[in-house]
Symmetry: C2
Amino acid sequence: MAERMIVVGGDAAGMATAAQARHRRDRDDLEIIAFERGHYTSYSACGIPYWISGLVDDAQQLVARDPATHREKYDIDVRLRHEVTEIDLDRREVVARDLDGGGEVRESFDTLMYATGAVPTKPDWARTDALGVFGVQTLDDGAALRAWLDADPEPRRAVVVGGGYIGVEMAEALVRRGLSVTLVERGEQPMSTVDPDMATLVTEAMRGLGVDIRTGVRVDALTERDGRVREVVTDDGPIPADVVVLGLGVRPNTALAEAAGMPIGPTGGIRVDRRMRVAELPDVWAAGDCVETLHRVSGMPVHVPLGTHANKQGRVAGINIGGGYATFAGVIGTAVAKVCDLEVGRTGLRERDALAAGFEFVSVIAESTNRAGYYPGARPMTVKLIAERPSGRLLGAQIVGWTEAAKRIDTLAVALWNRMTVDDMTALDLGYAPPYAPVWDPVLVAARKAVDALDPR
Amino acid sequence: MAERMIVVGGDAAGMATAAQARHRRDRDDLEIIAFERGHYTSYSACGIPYWISGLVDDAQQLVARDPATHREKYDIDVRLRHEVTEIDLDRREVVARDLDGGGEVRESFDTLMYATGAVPTKPDWARTDALGVFGVQTLDDGAALRAWLDADPEPRRAVVVGGGYIGVEMAEALVRRGLSVTLVERGEQPMSTVDPDMATLVTEAMRGLGVDIRTGVRVDALTERDGRVREVVTDDGPIPADVVVLGLGVRPNTALAEAAGMPIGPTGGIRVDRRMRVAELPDVWAAGDCVETLHRVSGMPVHVPLGTHANKQGRVAGINIGGGYATFAGVIGTAVAKVCDLEVGRTGLRERDALAAGFEFVSVIAESTNRAGYYPGARPMTVKLIAERPSGRLLGAQIVGWTEAAKRIDTLAVALWNRMTVDDMTALDLGYAPPYAPVWDPVLVAARKAVDALDPR
């Protein structure tokens, strides 16, 4: 008789697990049931800002694999709008509630994949019944926001709270839809995912696009009228708002896991081993935005909610559940973003991370261009490197530029992954042709500058 | 009393050496004389096709540092239009001829930097006095070709002989100037710098731009009338031509070096050690397109004439001459090119190279896109990987795509440089955001495919 795997959460991590396991074990060997509380499976949450801005027309474009594909191609019993409400690890059972029909089902499992993702941080002031307040965590959130933006009369004034990736992307999306947008950030500047000297470039670009950026400002409350949000009340005064978008980050969605007795790490994510097994629990797996993982540079556990990790982790879990052997090697904090025509990339540790991890280091900023200076379309590119002192080992890198900049971070990410020193990096054989790089690639220019900073002559 | 360094050849390698040496030793310690037979110093020969096409307006834009800068900023005695005709390593003297004045000078040296670059391959049929036949090796060559293209009546039919980088770039440049262009290639297809399956994509794009590509065709002669070239005679019949551009590759310019007794390696380039010293000759250095270097993957000496290597080698030599310590670590064959709106990148070994070097390997081709499929501007990208069997070590990679493709090769180049296996590569933490990559980056998709090819389950 077939074993049964139950997948809790039908997005990237859960469905990648299911697909890989199915690839290695057929239905007679492994039955797979996936519960998903939303209306969609396997979608790109990262694409939501582009759907809001109108760059992407249709939510279906963001769905990598729909339920029918999972059912027909992978023989996975996908149950949408079913929210798992209880996991009993001793009895090997889950209870799921049908959010539309209202009924409850109880299913047993041999193998459990917990992939519930993350939930948005929601301070007390955001817990309101007022209409016009939105997270952008799920495709259902995105659909609600889009409907609101299309309502009559159309909202004209937007306030985005929080200046992380999703906050700046949403601010840009709303400006592009013609709204007047204020971004409220409690810290010194938005985009604290890069160091302040690099974030300044992004802030300038956002202001250039017309975003009103208020930094060092704390939100205290929302006011409403006739059931609709009306103002964001801050310690710097009220800001009128027809729509409020919350971009305050997310935390691992572990409520069910904790109740079931799964171990939670210091970041709040579920503790898993390199094969994505939940620590010390047989046949219980977890992957994606609900788990914590190893940062290969700091050596510390981190919570990095990102679709690319969720997919990789799901694949690893699925190979293992399927009888193969695979491990997830950890992350180095690589991320790229497009902000108001600026391209931003980062990998490894920021200065504050390097300090916190106890490294001594130098950091350098090198100005260069994406193409040979004489080639049409050459634009500035700024590369920052952080290198351990005195070893010269690369600890982190950041890039801000206009075009052909963001993905250059991959070159630095692979160097970092391989623990290269900046001295070794000056020798790298990188592609050179005038349309694509100056004869000294920006990465090499920065590496040379870091070598000089480590050992001034 | 100051020592004296003589630099033979005032382009990238020679002048990078001079600048670095000057950075570390001032004039009282080291006098520097640089002889350059052309009209320019430190220019981008790689930029010539864009000057020809008109994308770049002015030759001066291609000059990174002009003689005045070298003289004033670096205190280097640059002597243009001076061709070194003899090097006497025993007496430590060079003889140089003033190409304009006609006189000869004899100068002694303590340190010699030989940086004469490369000379174009010129078969017997190309040794003609007919006007309208051009190489594109130097800025002076480019100036002559531009003048010819601007002459009255303007040439209308161009034949480019040779389908390497410079050949395809020149074919495109001439099409963009409005000429009717035929590219004659002796081999099966142009762009043999990548494997045939990848080169096919380039050939199609060139044909799409209107280049008439004749492959498997041997040129036998040029015919002329009134002193001007008229036809390219081939074993497939004559091809009318108002202008002929030679793109048949280059060989190290070693005539003087050989006469002086410098050691020449199997590739025809000067043999140098890792510090860029000419093997076994004290205080004699060489760098750039005239030397051979180590290929880090095959372990064999190779001749790779490319400005980026010339600059790095010159910098290494200059640091050493200046009293520091630096080595050139070799190359892995990374190159990028823009061909008719296609972007092409390669690194490491092609299949034929891997065979010649005695590797057993698998090769895979993965189709993907530069951006998330739903993001506007997503275009196909094809990644080929060659991996050693059974170890999985990456041996080579090639990319062809429409936009944001070429420089992705750097990600693979750094992986190759660090001897990563394709299995390790599947774990790489690369930048993901919808404007820049699908959630599985094309590099990761290809690595996964290579893993499957190595170990099919």
